[in-house]
Symmetry: C2
Subunit: 139 residues, 2 copies
Amino acid sequence: MKTNEMRSDCPISSSLDIFGDKWSLLIVRDLMLHKTRTYGDFTKAKEKIATNILANRLQVLEEQGIIIKLPYPDNKVKGLYKLSKKGVDLIPAVIEIALWGSSHLSDTDESSPFIEEVKKNKVKFLKKIMDKLMAEDAA
Amino acid sequence: MKTNEMRSDCPISSSLDIFGDKWSLLIVRDLMLHKTRTYGDFTKAKEKIATNILANRLQVLEEQGIIIKLPYPDNKVKGLYKLSKKGVDLIPAVIEIALWGSSHLSDTDESSPFIEEVKKNKVKFLKKIMDKLMAEDAA
DNA sequence: AGTATTTACTTTCAAATTGCAAGTAGTAAT
DNA sequence: ATTACTACTTGCAATTTGAAAGTAAATACT
């Protein structure tokens, strides 16, 4: 669709070339909080992503090796998306964005157990969730 | 221009509503690394932002209280942009993005002194740069 | 003092992206 | 056998982006 050209050799700029939009990191968020998701699960998220945008973002994230598509057990129609190691490594950035939004934006859900736990002990939360997501991934 | 409607009460989603694009965080990056910048300085960055996009992003970031526009000393034409406290608080997220890009994307400048220093001691670097940017801001 | 240049934008317009709605094709359930 | 579910794709209007040119005020140059 679009050629993969980087605007510069800056790692920030090159990262934003991949996920610098309003949707990509929400997909990462959902996979971070739920471990795996189907296509339909993503469309049910409260931000209401359009299906064509979702299909495009899943494709880009998979091409970039950030997410992995697996077959759904005992079902030939469904697929299961999960974060790769590269995707799991994005979690610290997502967490920092969540913390910033939680403390600087009004009308955001400050009282979710997720944000509570991150605020209580960021390092501990990070280790816990990253360990969980990377479990059974020796394969 | 656009109404400020949030897609949800998720702090991540609401944050991306503000800076979820390819340019906003590059403006934050430049202000993080250079403390202050003029309009012209931003246009000279290697990613070559179009001037209309730059003007729009500066306006949004200022409206959101992330950056502050100050008069340039002894010059009535120039302006000086700097990060507010709210903008400085975005630095941890920017740093995490930089670290991710630096370790997971090829052809990014891994050898810049900035990235080197962050990798050596992230907490120390964060404190140093945030202290520097917030200095003389009792005003 | 008059002209050129710098600075910070704005405007114009084509191209690309987004987003809504509807359509499709292959399972799976009843 | 028919209906529903799941994961998309397609069509199209609306919004956003991006390149280029334009503008207006302030500064520098002669």
